[in-house]
Subunit: 317 residues, 2 copies
């Protein structure tokens, strides 16, 4: 069994790739919930939805979030009424938020709700939120403190970032499904998907016990860089690295994860960085990391799984 | 200025008729909020919406509620997720509930929100909820106590009704807009629309001071019967009358309102009841009360306005 840690789009794509090369029961996807927020009275879990919709095959592959063939009648009507429209909610997508919120109000856990929604969407892999407790990501910028979606969607990640805070993390518990996966006897590898280290994986690592669990792992942990050729494949990761005084490079990703991982998958275009990755104590694997279609996605997933197997054998040997 | 008291469909139709024969500033529509309920985390005000959509010209004339040309992608997606679908919420309609709920959470009053929504929908008449306080209608049936929408929509008004309770009415205040209309020097008539007396107008009459305000009126009050030829034009009014041991008849409507009104508009098919209406101390007016189209709607509205004028002159004389 492989545990994949994922944020939104990039994470969802690799999770989909892994789902295409592994038996359904052999994949657990732990998803960032630091992006979760209350909007228009609803609890919205953007990364969970992206992973769920992607594994269900109903995601919108062009915009990267939301549901394919979505309609926007709610949003247009809300705009006509003068409501808040900076966070786009499609008509079908809305059902997820409304249903999740209703179940949260009935005191169901986010984990249980996610399992229930996945079942309904015929997602056969196990998708678990990183935590059932709120861990809202707060972005401290030169323009002040911003809630994540305010920063990310409303302000399009434009304000200059100074520091990321995983608020509430100290009091949050790793979700039961993630904890179970980490401790599962069948666990063969931990894969950190090509998601934003600060905004998508950072919240997970901030959970008490998470770094410790990764440090004492008995299986290989492999990260796939979200930075290719000095730029982020998607989103503001490169911009944030620069703002934090780091170079947008797989090496920054390598240093960010450090001893939490054994290997880093870098893109062919960054092949020259392999020695530097090795110098940081990590095994580099060159691959085509841009997942443009099913072929490139499954090829990357297969490379990751093979690396896990190789490293696993090496670990056992 | 005419104050119309309305429930859902029948009330909205006459309000529309009145809006078509009166200047916009000469009509205030006070709307039942006893039907309001929390559903899927949203505050839903079905009668306010029906009146608002009808006056905005965006109502669905066939089903009687909701928005014309509505889409149901949210509802279908919610069904797929196993959510509650007994109360149908269209994609566009949903925006009203979400926006109203968001504003209520920001502590805006239902009155202020209604005014805001009407402005956005270009409704030029003044639409006011009967109260800004919750007055949920509870239906006591042989199958026990049911919240109004549970009874009305989910159970299709099938359980046998024993008693209607306007819960919280004793502590609720008449909304400022309705109070202002009742006391306005320009008020020329009060019209009780052909709405369900027990379920739509009853909640309004249960508000402290409402009956008293009607009793000390200095303008004519006219009700239009929702019962025609022994049956309700729409909805369960006739069934309820039978269950309460009354005959489904304009005379039951006449007795229900009693001294709160001066005149009762009955349908031509009930012309033989005119003497009985008169015997109850009310002035009967025969009219075509079924509002099938714009012509019949405006004809009824004109008849009501003329009756108000005539009674007003009589009162002044």
């Amino acid at each position: 069994m492989i545990l994949a840690c994922a944020g939104g789009v990039g994470g969802a794509r690799l999770a989909l790739g892994l789902s295409e090369v592994l038996p359904a029961e052999a994949l657990v996807v732990a998803v960032n919930t630091g992006d979760d927020f209350e909007h228009l009275g609803m609890h919205v879990s953007p990364d969970l939805d992206t992973v769920m919709y992607t594994l269900a095959g109903i995601n919108d592959p062009v915009q990267g979030w939301g549901i394919f063939g979505e309609t926007w009648n709610f949003m247009n009507a809300l705009e006509a009424l003068g409501g808040e429209t900076w966070f786009r909610l499609g008509d079908r997508d809305l059902a997820t938020h409304v249903e999740r919120t209703a179940r949260l109000r009935r005191r169901e856990s986010l984990s249980a709700i996610t399992t229930g929604l996945c079942e309904r969407l015929s997602v056969r892999q196990r998708v678990v939120p990183m935590s059932d407790d709120p861990v809202p990501t707060i972005v401290h910028t030169t323009e002040g403190e911003l809630a994540f979606q305010e920063y990310f969607v409303r302000r399009r990640a434009e304000p200059r970032l100074m520091r990321v805070e995983y608020r509430g993390a100290a009091k949050a518990a790793i979700a039961p499904g993630l904890l179970a996966a980490l401790n599962h006897p069948s666990l063969e590898a931990i894969v950190i998907c090509p998601s934003n280290p600060y905004l998508s994986i950072g919240p997970m690592l901030a959970l008490p016990g998470m770094r410790e669990a990764l440090m004492r792992r008995r299986v290989p942990a492999i990260a796939v860089t979200p930075i290719v050729g000095g730029e982020a494949v998607k989103g503001p990761a490169a911009k944030i690295m620069r703002e934090l005084g780091e170079e947008p490079s797989p090496l920054t990703v390598a240093r960010f994860y450090g001893a939490l991982i054994d290997a880093l998958v870098i893109d062919h275009v960054d092949a020259h960085l392999a020695p530097s990755v090795r110098a940081l104590g990590l095994r580099p694997l060159e691959a085509q990391t841009i997942m443009r279609d099913r072929d490139s996605r499954t090829a990357l997933a297969r490379a990751v799984v093979q690396l896990a197997g190789a490293d696993g054998e090496r670990a056992t040997a």
